[in-house]
Amino acid sequence: MTSLPSSSEVEQAVGVSRAGRRSHPLLRYLGIRFGISVLLLWGVTVITFVLANLVPANPAAAALGEKAASDPKVVQAFNEAHGFDKPVVVQYFIYLGNLLRGNLGTSTQTHNPVTEDLGVAFPATIELALFVIVFSIIIGLGLGLIAALRHNRFSDQIIRVFSLIGISIPTFWLAVAFFFVFFYLLGWAPGTGRLSPAATAPPHVTGMYTVDSLLAGQWDTFGDALSHLILPGAVLTLYTVGLLVRFTRSGVLDVLSQDYVKAARAKGLPAHTVVFRYILRGSLLPILTIVGLAFGSLLSGTVLTEQVFNWGGIGQYAYKAATTLDLPAIMGVGLIVGVVYIAINFVIDVVYGFIDPRVRVR
């Protein structure tokens, strides 16, 4: 195990010269953050590869049928096709080389290039995650703000109980309950999948059916795709809203006692100016962090919810890959999850830098 690089090493790695050190503090800050992200990404490739190959089972045996797995000719053909016949170290460098060319290997289960599978699964999850995060921000921030502004009053208590319920109920249980009640009993929303069984997917542009159907002007398909987002979206929104309410409430409460807020009120500024320009902005950093992490969590796959609603996203793909020992797919999912978190952290760092100048000169 190697120790973490020093900041000067990182700066050298990303080509920050001494002249660069005198560049704009924001650019220097971005450069360092980017360099760290690249290193983290490499670390992710190592970790996913090592962990995937540590599993004490034979991928050929897992992928091939009973008879085929007993046939050395078939096993050899399988291993050759997937490169499993080479030493692990060689496999890693081949993997890394292919990775740089955008090739994540071929899934042993779907027989498709992993990039192709992820190209279908990831947009499905992005669509769901965007749906959830938009509503979660609107509802969560609003309720969190109300709760803080009405601290210890009845509405605060109600919102706190609501958020506690949202966080506490296991998502998979909620998914099953919503599916049963709103699909089966009440028939208010469609059950599984991203489109009705007989519906045809819109022409592929983004892979997000709501967006692609809009681009193609297929309004029926848009309505169908949107209606399929309701139940899995509601399940995940309830949890994310609960999370956001708690962080928003505590963040706003912290800011409410700050001198600059008191000063703003003392100056007689309108209440909405105080709330939006002073209180909300002042409490934005921790909220931003939790929004980013929640979004990352959604993007990295909400395995059980996707499984219940047969969403066909990255969570379901990861589940299938793990249970069938599909090493290229496992590594592909691991990598994309790593990329998502690294990218989100990078974006949060950058936004921090913009919002709070103190961050970039630390």
Binding site: Q109, G142, G233
Partner: protein, 524 residues
């Protein structure tokens, strides 16, 4: 301040209302669209990898390929005791080494091309060449074009199972002319799989309309199919987990649910749905390692094995497995030729079990019993059976430690012959008892239980006699082999679970078959 808060609250209320309106704007409607007009939605828990018949050998792959591809021979409905002509009829030589296939009427691919003998030869040779999962089906078989109407399959050793193998959907006949234009060859370098996952090239009742290995496969009719036209103009085979299948079929979102277990089907026989009950062709069996280093003088002790067999209360196992389940007498499933009824070797007799245990010299050693805990066989959990067995053996004085694990790791260790004992299952590759000879000493399954070649001359002789028997002599030969296996072998046939299909009550016929599970085109 109060006014500002009201504004804020109003803004939030508007936002929340907008959210509610947006989320609800397209309404639910419950139904996923199935069931209207001539469309059919079938729910299945996918194990799909490919629709390329030369590479597919999974249950879902068989369902898909049966709908798309005709084979040279077939079975009528669920009767697997007599192969029938499909694209070709057959004549077997007296020595079971030569099978002559003759074109049986005219057949057409979905693009209108006629099916020729060249297509048959190409398709069968391709399966052999690409070394995919099903390539073993034609091991040792030479495929030769005899004329424009005949193909000859020659085996070096007698191969009476061949007519039972040929109906397998993995041996579906492809349009060789089109396939060759898209990378298809009958050599190792074939790369037509991606093409076949987009465009089917068969002469079966359906053709691919859309294909997603993870979510759904949609079929539309082959306009040139010469058989009975299917009842549905669109069939959607969608990937749905068992519990969700139950709700879908109850809600009318699907018309057929294929993967429900005995518990899940309770209450579904009546009203809007009905239950078709059958017996699974899968045999769940126990094994006990005969390798002395692993068996430690316990699992490789004949008297201990007798105690094991006789201390199992098979009637209780059947109760746990649900209605429709059955106790196989041997390893060959009850619906295949050559199967046997349970006899005294696998009947519950606690006092006889205790006597055999005392004779074995067993002194309380703990036996490690392995099983997969992440899969089921027709909805039946291994865990349920393992716990019941542990409890029953305890009554006889046998101590067992349960060792669950993911199927990928348990299977790997089992295949390496390193596990002491456990429970596993065997599904038929083709409906012929010769598929089960691999359990004999020195064969691939026998070796997993540490049962080496020469370990049991009686069983080996019986296996050899069964393998070389032909005609009417095959059935008694396979019966004798199984009885010999039960007398001294390390395998205990335990149960064939019940198999259930739930349908909407508008469905009148769902023909099940142990080879391809369900023929989508025959659903009415």
């Amino acid at each position: 301040m109060i006014r500002a808060r009201r504004r804020l609250a109003a803004a939030i209320a508007v936002g929340a209302a907008a959210a509610m309106i947006l989320t609800g704007c397209s309404g639910g409607g419950g139904s996923s669209g199935g069931g209207s007009g001539k469309s059919l939605v079938v729910d299945n828990s996918f194990d799909l990898k490919t629709s390329d018949p030369g590479r597919a050998f999974e249950l879902t792959g068989s369902i898909v390929d049966k709908a798309i591809y005709e084979t040279v021979l077939t079975f009528n409905g669920s009767d697997v005791t007599k192969p029938q002509p499909d694209i070709m009829s057959y004549v077997e030589s007296n020595d079971d080494k030569t099978l002559t296939l003759t074109m049986h009427g005219k057949h057409y691919f979905s693009n209108g091309d006629p099916v020729t003998v060249d297509d048959v030869v190409f398709s069968l040779k391709r399966v052999q060449a690409i070394a995919g999962n099903p390539s073993f089906l034609l091991d040792g078989v030479t495929v030769t074009k005899k004329s424009d109407t005949q193909v000859v399959l020659t085996s070096a050793t007698p191969n009476p199972a061949l007519p039972f193998i040929l109906p397998n959907p993995s041996l579906g006949i492809l349009n060789s002319k089109v396939l060759k234009q898209h990378g298809g060859t009958d050599t190792k370098s074939d790369n037509a799989e991606a093409f076949l996952n987009k465009e089917s090239q068969g002469s079966g009742p359906y053709m691919l309309s859309s294909y997603n290995v993870n979510t759904k496969v949609v079929f539309k009719p082959n306009p040139h199919y010469v058989g009975t036209k299917p009842a549905y103009s669109t069939v959607v085979l969608e990937n749905v987990a068992g519990p969700t299948q139950k709700i879908n079929v109850q809600a009318g979102a699907s018309q057929v649910a294929l993967d429900l277990n005995a518990t899940q089907v309770q209450g579904l026989d009546g009203g809007k749905t009905k239950v078709i009950k059958g017996t699974s062709p899968y045999v769940m069996y126990l094994w006990f390692n005969q390798n002395s280093a692993i068996g430690a003088g316990v699992t490789n002790n004949q008297d201990f094995l007798t105690a094991i067999r006789k201390s199992i209360d098979y009637s209780k196992i059947l109760q746990l497995s649900g209605s429709g389940s059955t106790q196989p007498g041997g390893l060959v499933p009850s619906m295949f030729k050559g199967s046997i009824k349970p006899d005294s070797t696998n009947s519950y007799d606690l006092s006889a079990a205790k006597a055999a245990l005392a004779k074995s010299g067993y002194n309380g050693q703990t036996v490690k019993f392995s099983y997969p805990n992440d899969i089921t066989v027709d909805g039946l959990q291994f865990e349920t059976l393992a716990q019941a067995l542990q409890s029953q053996w305890q009554e006889a004085g046998i101590k067992v430690t349960l060792a669950p694990g993911p199927v990928a790791t348990v299977l790997d260790s089992y295949r390496n012959g390193t596990l002491q004992s456990g429970i596993m299952y065997w599904g038929p590759d083709f409906p012929d008892p010769s598929d089960y000879l691999v359990f004999s000493p020195g064969q691939s399954l026998g070796l997993r239980a540490g049962w080496k070649a020469g370990a049991d001359a009686t069983v080996t002789d019986a296996a050899n006699a069964a393998a070389s028997a032909s005609g009417a002599a095959r059935v008694p030969a396979f019966e004798s082999w199984q009885k010999a296996m039960n007398a001294t072998g390390p395998f205990v046939p335990l149960v064939q679970p019940g198999q259930y299909v739930v349908t909407a009550n508008t469905i009148t016929s769902v023909p099940l078959n142990p080879v391809w599970t369900v023929d989508l085109a025959a659903i009415k």
